[in-house]
Structures are given as C-alpha cells and as structure tokens.
C-alpha cells in the first residue's frame, strides 16, 4: 500500500517535472532544426548501482556518440533520462542530468524523499541517454532495469580501515609486551616533566594551579586529551594539598571536568577537600571567557597556568596575562595556527601530538606507553615509505606516484 502511494507520488511528480521540461524544451524557436541532422545516438549504455552510497544512486555509463568530437561533430551534450518502466510514455521520462560532450558517465543520485527527482531504493529503473546537438536530439539509447541498493562498505575508505587495523594490532602487541614487563623506553619531554614540577612549586608558594581546557566542546578530541591529563593533574594536586581552579567554556566540558577532578581527589584519598566551585562554568563565548580567565589570573596569581586543549585567538591573550602574573606556563594544543603564540609566550609548549602523549607520560602506566610505541611505529612506517620512494626515484629514474592513497587502486 505504502509503495503504491510512493509510486503514484513519483509518477505524479515525474509528470509535473516532465511537463515543465517539455514546455521549456519547446519554447525556443525551431527554425535552426532542419539545417542540422540529429547526431547518432550514444552506444552501449551500462547501468550499475552507484557504489559506496546509501542506496539512492545509479551509475550510468555509455559509449560516446560517433558524432561526438568525430564524425559530423555535432554533439554538444548528453541528456540522461530515468523512468520506472521501459514502455513509459515520453512524458514520464525524467531528465535527471545533463553532461557536456566527451563525458561517458553520470552518477544519478538523489537522496531526499521530497525531491522531485528522488531515486527510490530497490526499484526497477530504466535509463535513456540522448545525444543533444544544436536544436537536434539523437534517438535515445536505452538500458535497464537496474536497482539501487544500500552499500555496506565504502571501499573509498579502505586506507582508513587498513590503518585502523594496523594501529590496533600494533597497540595490542605493545600492550602485551608491556604487560609481560618488557621496559618500553620513552624519551623525556620537558613540557610534561614541568607539569610535575609545577604542582610542587604551587604547593611551596601556597598558590593555586589554573587549568584551562580551552574553548573546545566535549566533541573535540583535544578536549578529551586534556581531560585525561586533568585527571592526573587533579590527583597530584589533591595529594600535594594544593588548590586548583578550572574555569570552563562549555557546560558539558564543565560537567565532565567536575567529575574528573572530583574522582581525582577521591583517588588521592581526599574526597573531602574537593570543592565543587573550583570547577565552574563561565560562559560559552570565546572572549568573555578570556576576559574572566584573565581577571582570575591577575587576581589569584596562580603559581602555574596549564592550557591544554583547543585554542583560538585567545592563546596569546591568556599567555601574556600569565606572564604579567609571573606564573609558570605550560601550554599544549593541536591547533597549528596557535602554536606560535604559545611557543613565544609560554615556558613550555606541547606541540600537537605531544598533547595526546601527555597523559601516558604522566601516568607512566605500561598500557598507555604501549600506544605511544604504536604511534612511533606508524611514524616509522611513513618514514620508511618516504625513503623507499626516494630510493625508487634514484634507481628507476621515474618520478613519484603522486597521492598514492587517493586513487582506488585496491
């Protein structure tokens, strides 16, 4: 019943659009028509479900008309028509696309149900391709039926899948190694060691630590990375019995941060010293947030300011104010455009990937160090690939295959 309605609807809309198309098509004066012979039709129309989509696409391919670029050379474009039956009257053939001469394929795709050219799933469809010249049209080349269906894997995303699998295997391998007690070396990172020292310094000075999670939402992976660091910092802060200020720019981030700091205090065995108001929401807008944090920096004069997460233009506003207040400053972000300001104004800066590594460094748990090792292996693979490429060039004399992961060679 539902389908009948749908088909009726489509037929109706087809009629309508066709009527409009037909009207506009007959509009131009036909005086040029007799002078030119219609081009030969395109040949060999092949229909296929459009791969890697959600089931509302058909890939139409054909051979060029003999008059396209050769022969009488009269073809200007190709019109592609679709209908629900091969014997449908002309008015029910909907023009779904037009491509310029020399083109041999067209992806007919329409997902939205209310669109007039909506392409239904799992329904027999028939296509016609017509070569169009100046005021003349070839006889249509037809094909069908074909059905569009849901695809369950996007093969264009194969590199990502391979990457994920390799990464997963490497991670599991190194985690197992770590569990067996094999020592995994990681080189010291000054910025991360500074976090430890900074907490001690704050204790000595009797001043708080300011932890800024950036202006990202909980949907930014940089914020999530900052959460993992916050957990460890909060725990140490509780152990040292220092205080901590965490102003937040997003209510969700604040809620998660509160939970993290609270559990950090509980883990350190001092749940009673946690003050809920130390993690608070300011406002969700960038500059008001900065204005408030800047005020806090100058009034509280924190011993240490830690800025980890997603940052935009406020990076320098925060960091320079921190310099005025005489705080030690540790920053880290994955925003390449903000790194220069942190590098210039802060004592330590975690660049990009170092931000993500920070939690593993601070925790020193073998499981976490395992993933660091996996990251290194993938970088090594990239390096080896690049060197191999150079060697290939020197040996064979042929220059590179550009963009090796973009073409679907698999």
């Amino acid at each position: 019943m539902k389908h009948i309605k749908l088909i009726l609807f489509i037929c109706l809309s087809l009629c309508l659009t066709q009527a409009i198309v037909a009207q506009t098509a007959t509009d131009p004066p036909a005086e040029t028509a007799p002078a030119v012979q219609p081009p030969a039709p395109p040949g060999n129309v092949i229909l296929k479900d459009l791969p890697n989509d959600e089931g509302h696409g058909i890939l139409v391919r054909w051979d060029l008309s003999p008059d396209d670029g050769a022969g009488r050379n009269t073809v200007i474009s190709y019109d592609i028509y679709r209908a629900l039956s091969p014997s449908a009257p002309d008015s029910l053939w909907m023009n779904v696309g037009t491509v310029v001469l020399g083109t041999k394929r067209y992806s007919d795709k329409s997902v939205e149900k209310d669109a007039p050219d909506f392409l239904p799933k799992k329904t027999d469809l028939y296509y016609r391709v017509v070569a169009v010249g100046a005021g003349v049209r070839s006889t249509p080349a037809s094909a069908g039926p074909v059905q569009a269906y849901d695809n369950w894997f996007n093969s264009m995303k194969m590199p990502e899948l391979i990457f994920c699998i390799v990464f997963l295997i490497l991670t599991v391998r190194f985690i197992n190694m770590a569990k067996r007690g094999i020592d995994l070396y990681v080189r010291p990172l000054a910025g991360i060691e500074a976090i430890d020292e900074a907490i001690g310094r704050a204790t000595e000075m009797g001043k708080p630590i300011l932890y800024v999670l950036g202006i990202g939402t909980a949907g930014d992976i940089a914020t999530i990375a900052s959460f993992t660091v916050l957990g460890r910092v909060a725990r140490k802060v509780a152990e040292y019995q220092t205080s901590m200020i965490v102003p937040c720019c997003d209510p969700v981030v604040m809620t998660i941060a509160q939970e993290i700091v609270k559990t950090g205090y509980a883990d350190a065995g001092r749940p009673d010293t946690f003050k809920e108001d130390s993690v608070y929401y300011v406002t969700s807008q960038q500059f008001p947030y900065v204005a408030a944090v800047n005020g806090t920096i100058l009034r509280e004069k924190p011993a240490t300011n830690i800025y980890l997460g997603y940052f935009a233009a406020e990076s320098l506003l925060l960091a320079e104010t921190g310099v005025l207040a005489g705080s030690i400053q540790i920053a880290g972000t994955d925003q390449v455009s903000q790194l220069p300001f942190f590098v210039v104004a802060c004592d330590y800066t975690l660049l990009g990937e170092e931000l993500y590594a920070a939690s593993a460094y601070l925790g020193r748990e073998p499981l976490l160090l395992g993933t660091l090792k996996a990251q290194d292996y993938l970088k090594a693979i990239v390096l080896v690939l690049m060197v191999a490429l150079l060697a290939l060039r020197v040996i064979t004399g042929a220059d590179v295959i550009s963009k090796p992961f973009d073409a679907p060679w698999w």
Partner: protein, 302 residues
C-alpha cells in the same frame, strides 16, 4: 607635517629607550604598550598612507573578476564576526564594488550568524548608495544565514533550494529572476568566502569549491592565511590575506577604476598605522637584542 611630528615623537622616544636599555635599564612592558598605542593613534590622526602594489595572489582574484563576462554569477559569503570585521570588511566592500562595476550577478550569504548584520551594513553603506541602479533579485540578492557550518555547503553544492527555499527577506528563490538558471552552487562562476575562522575559506574549498569544481577565491584574516596558502593556486584561484591583501585589492581597483578614488578605502588607510606599528615593534625587537648582547658581554667580562 603629521609625518614629521610622528617621526620626531616616535623616533625620539625610541632613541631614548635605546639609550636607557644600553645603560642596562629594563624596559617595562607598559612602555611598549604606550609606544604601540601612540604610534597607531598618531598615524590615524594624521592619515599617513603609503603606496601599495598588488601581489600575484591578489592580482589573480582581481583578474578573474575582471575577465569574467558580464552577468557571471558570483557568491560572496560573509563568514566573519565583528571582531574580525575591521580586517576583512574592506575586502567585502572592494569585492562588491568590483563585481557590480563589472555588471556581474552577486549572491550574498553567510555561514556565520554574525555575518548577516555586517552584510546589511555593507549593503547600506556601499552597495545601495554607490550602485543605485542595482536591482534586488536581478543584480544582487541575499540568501541569508543558515546554521550548520560546512553541512550547509554540503547541501547547497548539490541543491541550493533545499537549504535556501527563500532568500533572507522571505522571497521564494523562484520569484527572483537571478535564480532562474541556478540549481546549486555548481552553477556559479566564482565563489568567494570571506572569513578567518571556522567555518571559513578552508571549509568552502573542501565542501564547495572542490566537490563542485567551481572557481573559488577567499579573503581571510591574517592569522589564518598561512594555512590557506597551500590551497593556492589549485583549489583557490587567489587569496586576500588580511588588511595587506585588502589594501592591494583596493589599490588595484582604484588603478583600474579611478572613479572609486574618492570612496572610502579603509584597508589602504589602515596600512599607514600598520607600517608605523611594525616599525615600532621591529625597533623594540632590535633594542631588546642590543640590550641582551650588552648584558651578556658584561656577564662575560665580570
């Protein structure tokens, strides 16, 4: 006259600071602030200006608009907020002048809610008074703002009406003559996004220019311009970076169309204070280094 006063005030002050820091005195940050503020203020009051010449990356945008046949369709997207406006608004106005002067069709829109109020300022202060003959719906129109960031682009690149069934004033697109042959952004001849944040030029390139294979140009705040450079010249035909880019465009516009000479060209005027302020900052860096080397020498001696 103004130039001489400025040079005496700023130059004299800098020499004095240099003398002090060679003597080993620390320069307080507030002195730096004072100099930056004074320099910019003097340059603004005396309207100091310096000549600008368009660089290739700016020239290519200008030439594109210049060489498109009259009646071409150009989208101008206001993707910025008031904080960014002083830097990028001049570009927008220069584009409006150039596009309408060439009798192209101009489609406004924005991916930032804040863009719309800035657009209405542009319309009232530049478009309407300078091009009284330009007709709404025929020569220009405003599609308005739609929330959804690059998602909006994802849709309009295939179907404009799905996202914008009507323009910002509630007119159905089909009632406006300039939308007659426009199905999606793919039917445009040039897309221009002006904005320094996210979504901005980058999103336009990735979600509209590239997939739609439409020529794309951009204007962005200086801070995000370096990251857009890699898209030039393939994915972006050209890029106006910050005030300098805008000033170069304005200079080129005045050179080609002298009738704009007496119009307000804020970017060109901005370059005066810019130049002066840069001189002062560079001077402070030099002073800082001189002081540093002196103190190091002293340290070595003692």
């Amino acid at each position: 006259m103004g130039l001489i006063i400025s040079i005496i005030v700023i130059g004299g002050g800098l020499l004095w600071i240099l003398y002090l820091s060679i003597k080993g005195r620390d320069v307080d940050r507030r002195i730096v602030y004072l100099f930056v503020g004074t320099t910019v203020a003097l340059a603004i009051i005396f309207r100091l200006e310096f000549g600008e010449v368009a660089t290739p990356i700016v020239k290519s945008v200008f030439d594109k608009i210049e060489n498109l046949p009259a009646g071409s369709k150009i989208v101008l997207s206001y993707d910025f907020d008031p904080a960014m406006a002083p830097e990028v608004n001049p570009m927008a106005n220069a584009f409006i002048r150039h596009i309408l002067e060439k009798k192209h069709r101009l489609y406004f829109m924005s991916l930032w809610a804040t863009g719309q109020s800035l657009l209405s300022v542009s319309l009232d202060s530049v478009l309407k008074p300078e091009f009284p003959d330009a007709k709404y719906g025929v020569d220009y129109c405003n599609l308005g703002f739609k929330a959804g960031n690059e998602g909006v682009l994802n849709v309009v690149i295939t179907n404009l009406r799905k996202m914008f069934p009507s323009d910002a004033n509630g007119n159905s697109l089909d009632s406006l003559p300039m939308f007659k042959d426009v199905e999606s952004l793919k039917d445009m001849d040039l897309l221009i996004s002006i904005g320094g944040g996210k979504p901005g030029v980058k999103e336009w390139v990735l979600f509209a220019g590239d997939p739609g294979k439409v020529a794309m140009a951009g204007g962005s705040a200086a801070v995000s311009t370096p990251l857009l450079y890699p898209y030039w010249p393939k994915q972006l035909i050209g890029l106006l970076g910050g005030t300098k880019g805008a000033a170069e465009y304005e200079a080129e516009l005045i050179k080609r169309y002298p009738r704009f000479k007496d119009k307000s060209m804020p970017a060109l005027r901005m370059m005066g204070p810019q130049t002066m302020a840069h001189v002062v900052i560079i001077a402070f860096i030099v002073i800082g280094n001189i002081a540093y080397f002196r103190s190091r020498k002293k340290g070595e001696q003692s």
